[in-house]
């Protein structure tokens, strides 16, 4: 078995999230009313070290690239690489996602754009969606309450602000609670995924206690065994001890190959090759709804971390509206016409 102990795995995910070797990357989608999108990528580093092949979104030679070295007022130097491309529509973006050969090619992503005519206004909806990795995992919402869930999806600067603010102790405790709950969520989902993958690999060969339904019914048992042995999970799994405890010695010997292959598949999904970045969306007209954080310039942003799309699709959406001036004028004229008619009739009746 190649995977790390589960607790270490969770810590590793968090470590990857806070890794500072890579340049900070912000992907900005400027959505236009006709459905075209201007995509800007901005990479920032303290050194002039940019690997264009490790860019987080699909990239090709048609992008316009601009490099600059910027000095701020304090004298700090920053290397910035900016790239921009105009996509005619969502289909072009989705096509580029399908043929992506960049560093995030292993995740499935797509964009959506909807334009709805609502007489007085035209409403626009744009979404960036990353498909889930685990087919059998549990949504994080089953482990976190509404408040914790909102905190879990906040940008790092906002959580840092809380944890360094006047109520820091409370927020640190709150953050620890979330970490502990998300650890449980990761382990439970990983075990559910293992059962799913194991059942797929064994297929019709598995009967009786080894069928998917039978294993699924005993899922909590496997979670308990895994959590209880989390420190030595790797060696215990390699020696087949965990497997023997869960499915019995004869089955552990019989299904060893499938069990190991299944845990390898789960490891690959858990440690999906993904480089984090921040998504910003600028919508046309007035913003009316989003599930992202809003910055001080009324631009919406989302941190993109692999844990967000582990067990459920990660949808970053925004909705905006633009008034249809001509519809307002036409409606105004119509209402005035009807009102004038009523007044006219009452005058005539009085005469």
């Amino acid at each position: 078995m190649n995977s790390k102990p589960l607790k270490v795995a969770v810590i590793m995910i968090l470590a990857l999230i806070t890794s500072c070797d890579e340049p900070e990357t912000v992907v900005t989608d400027i959505v236009h009313t006709d459905g075209s999108v201007t995509r800007r990528v901005e990479m920032k580093n303290t050194e002039n070290k940019f690997d264009i092949h490790k860019i987080q979104v699909p990239f090709d030679s048609t992008w316009i690239v601009r490099d600059s070295l910027e000095f701020d007022k304090k004298g700090d130097t920053t290397w910035v690489k900016r790239a921009e491309k105009q996509y005619r529509n969502i289909d072009e973006i989705n096509m580029s996602y399908r043929s992506d050969s960049g560093c995030n090619k292993s995740v499935s992503r797509r964009s959506e754009f909807k334009k709805r005519f609502r007489w007085f206004n035209t409403e626009y909806r744009f979404a960036e969606i990353i498909e889930k990795e685990f087919a059998h995992g549990y949504p994080v919402s089953e482990f976190l309450n509404k408040e914790e869930l909102a905190y879990f999806f906040l940008t790092e600067d906002v959580t840092n602000k809380f944890e360094k603010g006047p109520d820091s102790l409370r927020y640190k405790a709150f953050s620890d609670t979330i970490s502990s709950k998300t650890d449980k969520w990761t382990i439970k989902s990983a075990m559910a995924e293992w059962i799913g993958d194991f059942s797929t690999l064994t297929g019709d060969k598995a009967t009786g206690d080894m069928t998917f339904d039978a294993l699924k019914a005993r899922e909590d048992e496997l979670v308990k065994i895994s959590m209880g042995n989390s420190k030595h999970f790797d060696s215990l799994w390699t020696n087949g001890i965990i497997l023997k405890e869960f499915i019995g010695e004869p089955n552990a010997i019989r299904y060893k190959t499938e069990a190991d292959s299944a845990i390898n598949l789960v490891s690959k999904k858990l440690f999906v090759d993904f480089h984090r970045y921040t998504v910003r969306i600028i919508m046309p007209g007035r913003l009316i709804g989003t599930n992202g954080s809003i910055d001080s310039t009324n631009v919406i942003l989302w941190p993109v971390k692999s844990e967000y799309f582990l067990t459920q699709p990660y949808e970053m959406w925004a909705e905006s509206k633009e008034p249809n001036k001509w519809a307002w004028i036409v409606t105004g004229i119509f209402l005035l016409f009807v009102l004038a008619g009523i007044i006219f009739k009452s005058i005539k009746r009085a005469e």
Binding site: N121, I288, T297, V299, L335
Partner: protein, 185 residues
């Protein structure tokens, strides 16, 4: 023979009478009445033309019950639709305003187009722009050349250090000592 001569005399009599009638004019009685009637009809036509006005024509529909009721119902529906739509939008905007605002440094918000750093060097085109006019273009060029030179020398130096483990250890020790002094450890 007698009958034929009688018929001829009657025909000539008839022709004489019709000639007399054709030549004689009709005697009109009540000329004034006829004139009055004609004049009255002309006046009525003018009156009809004078009475045609835009409001009557434009709001003729108010006298047609089903049209009037239909237009009033349509107006009420439009106003209700407008009220519901606007209140829903306002509610959503209010919810957005309650959301946490990210106050990250400029980059996480993205570098805006109007971002004005003190000094900006485009490394690809070699163009230099400066906010303020403290440095001349020549000085800026020299500055850029110095940076390029420094980078080239620095990369050689790093390669040299990387290739020599003893030198690498020595420098790392010196740097950690320097850091300790810096932070009074």
């Amino acid at each position: 023979m007698k009958d034929i001569s009688e018929m001829k005399s009657e025909l000539s009599k008839y022709e004489r009478i019709t000639d007399i009638l054709k030549k004689s004019r009709p005697v009109l009685t009540g000329n004034e009445t006829i004139e009055e009637n004609v004049m009255e009809r002309i006046r009525d036509k003018r009156k009809i033309n004078e009475n045609f006005n835009i409001p009557d024509h434009l709001f003729g529909w108010v006298y047609v019950g089903w049209v009037r009721r239909g237009l009033i119902a349509a107006s009420v529906l439009i106003i209700s639709f407008f009220a519901v739509q606007q209140s829903m939008i306002l509610k959503r905007i209010n919810n957005l305003e309650r959301q946490e605002v990210s106050t990250n440094p400029s980059f996480v918000k993205g570098v805006p187009d109007d971002f004005e750093p003190t000094l900006l060097i485009n490394t690809r085109s070699g163009k230099i722009s400066l906010k303020g006019d403290n440095l001349s273009a020549r000085q800026l060029k020299q500055f850029q050349e110095s940076i390029n030179d420094l980078q080239a020398r620095y990369s050689n130096l790093i390669k040299l250090i990387e290739d020599n483990p003893e030198l690498k250890n020595y420098i790392e020790n010196k740097l950690s000592e320097k850091d300790k002094k810096k932070f009074n450890l």
